[in-house]
Amino acid sequence: MKAKWTWFLLAPPLALALVFFVVPVVYLFWVSLHAASSSELYGAALTLRNYADVLGDSFYLGIVRRTLGVAAVILGLCLVVGYPVAYFVALLPPRRRMLALLVLLFPLMVSNVVRAYGWVALLERRGVVNTTLRDLGIIDAPLDLLYTTSAVVVALMTILLPYMVISIANTLAALDRRYEEAAQALGAGPVRTFLHVTLPLSTPGIASGTLLVFLLTLSAYVTITLLGGPRSKLLVSLIYDNVTAFQWPRAAALAFVLLALALAFTGLLLALLRPGRVQGAGR
C-alpha cells in the first residue's frame, strides 16, 4: 500500500526525467557514434571515429588537460579561501549566519553576462586595474590582464566560491560541538582538534562543495568566452565551436568526454573523501 503511493508520487518527476533527460542523452550518444553529414544532423555510417579523433588528437587532449587544470586551480583556491570563511560563518549565531550567507549569495543574483563585463571593465588595458597601477607609478605600460586563462580562473572562482562556502558552512553549523570538546578532553589542542575531528567531520560539505565547483567549472561558458582569449579555450568552448561548424556528431562526442570526466571525478572524490562514513551518524 505504502509502496504503491510512493510510486504514484514519484511517477511524474520520473516520467519527466525520462522524457527530457534520459532519452535525449541516449539519442545524443547515438549521434556521437556517426560521421558528420553536410545535409543531415548526422551521417548514415556508424563509426567510433569521433571518439578516436578527440582522444588521439594532441589539440583536443591539450584542451582536456587545460580544462582539468583550470578546474583544479579553481577548486584549490575555493577550498583554501572558502574553508576559513565557512568556518567563521558557521560560528555565527543563526540570524547573522543567515545574513552572511545572503551577502555571499549576492554576486549570484547579478547576471553572468553583467558580471563578466564588470571584469572586462576592471581588467582591460584601460581598465580600473591598469589605470590605478599606472597612476601609482607601479607600471609604465598596461598589463595584458584580460583574455588570459588567469582572468578566467579569477572570474570563475569568485562566482563559484559561494557554493563552496555555503556547502561547508552548512555542514560545520550542523556539527555537534561536543565532538570538539571530546577531542579536547582527550588532550587534542586546537590544531589537532581541527585536523583529526573537525576537518574529517566536515567532509560531506567539502565533497558537495567540491562537486558543485568542479561541475560548474566544466559547464561554465559565458565567463570563459567573454574573459578568455583564443588560447584559453576549454572543453565547453570546443563543443560550441563544433556545433557552429555543423560538426554535430563530434560535438556530441565531446559532450560525452565531458560527462565521462564529470563522472570519473565524482567517483574519485567519493572514494577518497568517503563522506558517507560521517553522514547519518548522530552519535
Binding site: A182, A183, A185, A188, H196, R277, R283
Partner: protein
Amino acid sequence: MTAANPADVQLVAVRKRFGAVTAVDDVSVDIARGSIFSLLGPSGCGKTTTLRLIAGFEQPDAGDVFIRGARVTSVPPYRRDFSMVFQSYALFPHLTVAENVAFGLRMRRVARHDRARSVAEALDLVKLGTLADRYPRQLSGGQQQRVALARAIVVKPAVLLLDEPLGALDKMLREEMQVELRSLQQRLGITAVFVTHDQEEALTLSDRVAVMRNGVIEQIGGPREIYDRPRSAFVASFLGASNFVAGTVVARDASAIVVETPAGRVAAHGDRRVADKVHIAVRPERLRMERGGASGLPAHIRDIVYRGPVTHFYLDSAAGPLIAYRQDARAGDFTIGESVQCTWDPDSAVVLDEAHA
C-alpha cells in the same frame, strides 16, 4: 585533606555567571582520590556547569580549580589531566571503536605498539573486545556507552568526569551499568565526578554526593547521610518522598526532642530549644501504622496503592497528609478508611534547617 587521601579535584569558592543568571555560586568541594563524587540536582541547578568548570570548558568568574594540587583555573581543557564521558557519548563517527579509544593515546603521543595494547585492554575491560573494528553507528546505545567509557579510562586520567552518562539508556541497562561502572572505578582506583539528576543513581554509585540547587550546594555527604539526615526540605524531597510535619518543641533530652503538632506529640532527632518552631521530615518507609495505639499521630487511610515490592498508604491527619510505605503488605492488612496511629523512631525524624518550600 590528609596526605594519605589527597584531594584529586578541588573547587575553591568558584562562581560562574551566564548573563544575569548565576549558574554556579560560591561552590567549594574537595574530591578525595579514588572516590566517586556525584553532583545531584534538578536541571538548571548548575551541576553540569560545575563539571564543565573542572574540565575547563567554562572559565570561572571567581574562585579556583585544582586538579591533583595544581591550579588549573586558566589552563585550557587539553592541558588538564582529566577525561570525560559525555551525555551523548560524542564518539567520533568517522573513527572505528578501536580508533576512538586510541584517540587520547595518539594525542599523548603514545607509541603505536603500546597504544594497541592499551586499547585492547580497555576494550576488554568494558567487554567490547570483539567490536574493535565497528563504527559507532553500528553499535547499540549500551555498547556506545561502553566505548565512551573505554575511551575515557584508557588515558588513565587524574579524574574521570561523567555527564549523565547513563541518561540515554533504558532502566534495566542503566542499573546494570551503574553496578559495572562502580566496580570498574574501584578496580582501577579512578577518581570520578558524576553528574546526574537521578537520586537513585547518585545513591548507588557515590562515595559522596553534593545536592545542588540554584547554583548552590545545599548539602554534601555520604549517600546514607544525605538520605537519612537531609538538612533542608529540598534535599529531603529531592532524594525521595518524605513526610513533612510542622510543630513546636515542648521538651528535649540529650538525643531527641518532643514536638507538639496539630495532631499530637511526636519525637524527633535534633538539637532545638523548647518553644522553637520546627519542621521535621520522616521517610515513608520509616513511618509505622499501628491499630489502637496510644502514641503517635492519629490518621485515617485515604488510599492504598499496591506497587509490587512495596505498598503505598496515603493518610490524612490533623498535621497534614502523610504517606507510608510497607514491604510485604498482605491483602486485608489495612483497609481504606481505617483509623490508625502513625509512629516512628525518634532517630528517623529529622529536624530541618528551613521550612518546607
